[in-house]
Each structure stands twice: as C-alpha cells, then as structure tokens.
Symmetry: C2
Subunit: 166 residues, 2 copies
C-alpha cells in the first residue's frame, strides 16, 4: 500500500458543510435520510453516511433510527463554526506533525535537556496552525448561509421544493 | 495505490526545514551530499533526496553533481520563509478543495448565473487558508535559527563537529 501524503482536507468537509446548510434551509420539521441528502448532492450514500455519523458524534447533528429516520441539526447554524465541522471530519491532529528528527543522528549525541523545549520548527509551524484555526472558528455556518441568501435569494425555496418532491 | 485523505503536511516539510538549518550552520564551504544529510537525521536517503530536489526546483537550494557534489543554500535563511518551504514540498494546492457539489442534484435544476460567484463555503475556507499562509510567510528560517541559537547556544558547533568527522 502506497500512502500519498496530501495536505488536503477530506472531501467530507465540503459535504458536511453543505448538508448542514441544507438541513437549515429545510427547517426542523422532519429528519432527512442519508439517501435523500446523498441524492441532493449526487454523493455516494455509504461514504456520506460516514461523514454524517461523524457530525452526530461531534454534537453537530442528531440522528433518528428507522425507516422514517435521518438527520437533524443539533444546534442552530449560528452555533456551528467552520472549525467545528473541520474537527468533526478531520479529527484534532495538526497539519504539521513533528517527528522530532532533531533527536536523531547528530542529535543523538546531545544531552536530553536540549530537547526539553519543543523544536523551534514545530513551534513556528504551530503559530500558523493557530492562525488557521482561529480564522475557521471566527466564521459560523450562519455567516455562510447569509452570504448565499444574499447572492441567491431563492436558494431556500429551491431546496425545499426539491426535497418536497420526495 | 491507495490515496489516504489526511490533512497532514508531508513529513518532507520537517526534513527540508531541518536540512536548510543544517546547511546554514555548516556555512557555505562545500556542498553537502544527500547521504550525509540523511545520516545526520537518520532519514531514508532516496526519499530525502526527492525533497532536496524539490527545494532545488523552488530555488531554495542549489545542487552540484558528482562524487564531491551535494547541496548548498541558494539564499540566506533570512530570505527563506516557512511558506517557501511548504510550497516547495507540498505544491500550491489549497487544503480545501471545492468540488462544487452545489451544482449537482438540487443544483442541477438551477440557472447557471447562480454559480458565477464562488461557493460561499469555498470562500469562507479560503479566508482561513490565507491566514495560515500569511502566518507561514511572516516567519523565516532565520527566525527559527535564532530561537534555536538562543536556547541551545552550541547547536552550530555540535553540527559542525559531527559533519567534520565525515
């Protein structure tokens, strides 16, 4: 198995954000199934379901089992930040993973106290990670919805009509 | 070949930054080979070489062929930002890749003009990407080296001694 390192967010992040917006436009009347959300974006249902389950686990959605079951938002969009969704789908790991290569080779000869503070490269990279996370945390899905509603005023109607067709 | 979605930077980013610092500590007297840099951090030479070639391609290092060949810094550390190294190793792609799922399913019924502006999710995610890149661009490898030199004053000596043993 060849692993390709790729600094890309899982495509599930895009799917999850769109599904949250769709549930908000549909209102909270009844839960929406994976099958219908998948059809609404032409996505593979099993893989979308995996992302939706991750959102449930993170407290962003709730799920109801059964034939008429499905997903609902657990919180209003104004309470869900982009960071919440990214963390739910990607997990908490930082983009830069320090493997402390400074302790190997040349470093193996150095005294242990020299490694008590984190590697300066790791610290510098973390500064950028924090900036990224802050920018994600500063934006909620309600902000995103407001942009769409301003640009495409009938977006909610289009979605409600499509889902009403069953 | 299995592609693993993983919002992780390639481990070559860490290797590349350490190698740049090592070349700076060693001074500019002679090029350093992949084999010696790999030994200095106990890294796999072929894969490290791939990263070093990417740094050459990006204008961060120069390479000299031949038995006594190897790598030199093409620029002083103060001119190399963390973003330069990340882009050299990872390429220019953004972490969030918008696949425009808004145009599928429900969206397929909508008029084309509604998709002329970028998806609001994509725009919001880009704000965070820009914050991350700015934070990386605001830090040079000279800044990182200064932190190390302050914490571990003999770091340069240790490295020079180890490499002098040849």
């Amino acid at each position: 198995m060849e692993v390709i390192w790729d600094m890309r967010l899982n495509e599930g992040v895009e799917w999850a954000m769109h599904c949250c917006l769709t549930l908000a436009w549909l209102g909270d009347e009844e839960p929406i199934s994976t099958a219908r959300l998948a059809a609404g974006y032409e996505l593979p249902p099993p893989y979308l379901n995996k992302q939706l389950q991750a959102l449930v686990k993170a407290g962003i959605m709730t799920s109801t089992p059964g034939v008429r079951g499905g997903f609902r938002l657990a919180q209003p969009l104004a309470k869900i930040t982009l960071l919440d969704v990214v963390m739910a789908i990607e997990g908490p790991a930082e983009a830069f993973h320090c493997t402390d290569i400074r302790e190997r080779g040349v470093g193996a000869e150095k005294a242990a106290w020299q490694f008590r503070t984190p590697c300066a490269i790791s610290t510098a990279m973390r500064t950028a990670e924090v900036a990224w996370r802050r920018a994600l945390a500063a934006q909620t899905l309600a902000d995103v919805q407001a942009v769409v509603d301003r640009r495409i005023p009938h977006q909610g109607d289009v979605i409600r009509r499509w889902y009403a067709q069953g």
